[in-house]
């Protein structure tokens, strides 16, 4: 257990100072070899093929006319980009994209602000209730999503009945529910980062006549900016990827990209000519930004994993 308990903090501490690169392992020679090179190459080859084949298939289908996909006559000879043009008119993904950007963007912004506020005192002071506070932040991430969605829906329908205010189809409930994941996630990321920022810095700012908030704004904020960006990205991706909450709290007025695609898929699968080529094109369009973001922020990924992205999604 002792080893186990050391681990997450290792991961957490590894956020801002980049994980030590092994490039300088010249002196080590082959001392850190963990598999015979031939085995290593086989594993590499198998895994790369296993990843590339389905993804390549999706890309291929996205460039294949719909009727060819349905009849299974897929060839490299009949590729066309028409699907990528048609999806914008035939599948509701343009609207879905805008709704997703608004919803996920607002939720991520709110989460990062709230998380930054909480992370500052959590890393600067010791006070009663600090540990329970931190533990609660972890614990809430293990709460299954269905446990949250049922009462929230019940409360919203009660509000609609008694007060006549309809929140379903507006942005508020969905933004607030995404904060369920965004707040603990960004608080943790920022706590982990700000622990490594020396306190002398804000002490110096205080001595120079800054208020606490001034120190936060002028000193801590610029230093913590990389972690703030990372927290924003991860909180944003929660909203981008979610289906459970969006399927309940949105309707045709504000459905997110994920829901638009899910509806498109179930509608088109019963059509006379299912638009599977377009479906795959839309799927590619909705993953490209995410994959790009993750690859850019690759080295923070481990931390994002251990800090959150847990709650029944």
């Amino acid at each position: 257990m002792t080893v186990a308990s050391e681990t997450p903090s290792n991961l957490i501490n590894s956020v801002p100072p980049r994980p030590r690169r092994r490039r300088s392992s010249v002196g080590v020679g082959s001392a850190d070899l963990l598999m015979p090179p031939w085995l290593s190459r086989i594993v590499l080859l198998l895994l790369v093929v296993a990843v590339i084949v389905p993804v390549g298939y999706m890309l291929l289908l996205s460039l294949t006319p719909n009727q060819n996909v349905v009849f299974g006559s897929i060839s490299l000879a009949a590729l066309e980009v028409r699907n990528y043009i048609d999806i914008w008119s035939q599948a509701p993904i343009a609207a879905g994209l805008i709704h997703t950007l608004i919803i996920a963007g607002s939720a991520a912004t709110a989460s990062v602000i709230v998380g930054l506020l909480a992370a500052y005192p959590l890393t600067r002071f010791t006070f009663a209730g600090r540990r329970p506070y931190l533990y609660t932040l972890i614990a809430v991430q293990t709460v299954p999503g269905t446990t949250l969605i049922l009462p929230l829906f019940a409360v919203l329908s009660w509000i609609q009945t008694t007060l006549g205010v309809n929140f379903i189809g507006t942005y508020y409930p969905i933004i607030i529910t995404y904060m369920t994941f965004g707040v603990p996630l960004s608080t943790w990321l920022l706590v982990a980062y700000m622990r490594t920022v020396p306190r002398d810095l804000d002490e110096a700012a205080l001595v120079d006549g800054c208020s606490r908030l001034g120190a936060l704004r002028r000193v801590i904020f610029p230093i913590a900016l990389p972690a703030i960006v990372v927290a924003f990205v991860f909180a944003f991706l929660v909203g981008w990827n979610d289906v459970l909450f969006a399927s309940v709290f949105t309707n045709s007025n504000n459905q997110t990209l994920a829901i638009a695609l899910q509806r498109f898929a179930s509608d088109t699968s019963t059509a006379a000519l299912p638009l599977y080529g377009e479906l795959m094109a839309a799927a590619v369009v909705s993953s490209v930004p995410v994959v790009a973001l993750y690859l850019v922020f690759q080295r923070y990924l481990v931390h994002g994993l251990s800090a959150g992205s847990l709650t029944g999604m």
């Binding site: 080893v3 308990s5 681990t7 903090s9 991961l11 590894s14 030590r20 392992s25 080590v28 001392a31 070899l33 963990l34 594993v43 895994l47 790369v48 990843v51 389905p54 993804v55 999706m58 996909v69 299974g72 709230v114 506020l117 909480a118 500052y120 600067r124 002071f125 010791t126 600090r130 540990r131 931190l134 609660t136 614990a139 809430v140 293990t142 299954p144 269905t146 949250l148 049922l150 009462p151 929230l152 329908s157 009945t161 904060m179 707040v183 622990r195 908030l213 990827n241 979610d242 695609l261 899910q262 898929a265 479906l279 799927a283 481990v302 994993l305 251990s306 847990l310 029944g312 999604m313």
Partner: protein, 336 residues
């Protein structure tokens, strides 16, 4: 690093405290409250914790309590809008959930089994794959950066996209999977993967494909934390690869592996998106994992009582691994 963290902020709090009222007179309640706050908070802006605290309270803790309350009420399509006045039902919802197969054809017991099997099988299979993957790229070589990026792809593609992709890959006859099986003469290429009992395996394969990089990432991070000196010392002693693995790598990785397996089990237990998007709606009985069962009971049949009971059972099941996770992080203790 800990030296920076251990700096105590202790005495500061008392500096600005209003002195307690002199003599015998009792300070008023307000003054006592202000006193308490200044004594404990000093000039420390602890109010900054309030927004996150309120957010967590309102959108997590209150709903959890409400779910437990709802699970004891007879809330159905006719009482949903005035559910506060719904008749008290006791444990009847739980009894119904366990005994009567839901309208989807799966009882709660069966749904629990499916969820358990799904999450444990996934974890058991992705752990060795993820370890091998990490071993294969942990040394830098020409192209290792590219390989690492490719390894990440299945994990970072949104789950709903993976599900849509699987929907097409597993199509009967024309899908890639059936075609491959036919090509290798394993089947005649006419298997229905998206309906009936095969659907479980289609979902299982997809989940394994999509999530092994999670273990890979954890193990890779663990490998990078092993000091180079350990390898050097082992090399001086003439250790073979096998000895190196057994005496250095596996012991050093055991923590990260335990954490990864725990998180993976927790995470796969609650997977909703894959089953929801990959299959027609409602999904086949074989893939009725707990979140799906709760969801369809609530939003297709509007039996919120039974759905809440299922959600509560899910939460209770997750308490044990959740508690272990909480203990194992010990991060709060470290930070203080």
């Amino acid at each position: 690093m800990s030296t920076q963290l251990e700096v105590s902020a202790g005495p500061r709090g008392t500096a600005g405290a209003i002195a307690p009222g002199g003599g015998d007179e009792q300070p008023s309640r307000t003054i006592r409250a202000v006193n308490w706050i200044t004594r404990h908070w000093g000039d420390r802006p602890l109010w900054m914790l309030i927004p996150a605290g309120v957010a967590i309270f309102v959108i997590v803790i209150v709903p959890v309590c409400l779910t437990i309350y709802l699970s004891l009420l007879n809330v159905n399509v006719s009482t949903l809008r005035e559910w506060l006045g719904a008749p008290f039902y006791g444990i009847q919802n739980y009894v119904n959930a366990f005994t009567a197969p839901s309208t989807l054809g799966v009882s709660l017991g069966r749904s629990i089994l499916i969820s358990f099997m799904f999450s444990i099988l996934t974890t058991v299979i992705i752990t060795p794959i993820g370890m091998l993957a990490a071993f294969s790229v942990h040394r830098r070589f020409k192209g290792s950066g590219l390989a690492r990026a490719i390894y990440l792809i299945p994990y970072v593609i949104p789950t709903f996209v993976t599900a849509l992709m699987a929907r097409i890959v597993f199509m009967n006859g024309t899908g890639l999977f059936d075609k491959a099986l036919k090509f290798f003469h394993i089947t005649n290429g006419q298997t229905y993967w998206l309906i009936g009992s095969n659907s479980y395996w289609a979902m299982q394969i997809t989940e394994i494909w999509a999530t092994w990089p999670f273990i890979y990432l954890m193990v890779l991070a663990g490998l990078q934390a092993i000091p180079k000196e350990h390898y050097e010392a082992a090399a001086l002693d003439g250790a073979t690869i096998r000895q190196r693995l057994r005496h250095i790598v596996i012991p050093e990785l055991s923590g990260v592996l335990k954490l990864g397996m725990l998180l993976s089990t927790l995470f796969h237990f609650g997977n909703f998106t894959l089953a929801f998007v990959m299959f027609s709606s409602p999904p086949p009985a074989a893939v009725e994992v707990l979140p799906i069962t709760a969801y369809y009971n609530a939003f297709d049949f509007f039996d919120f009582g039974v759905a809440s009971a299922i959600a509560v059972v899910t939460m209770v099941i997750l308490i044990i691994p959740g508690y272990i996770y909480l203990r194992s992080t010990r991060l709060a203790a470290q930070a203080g």
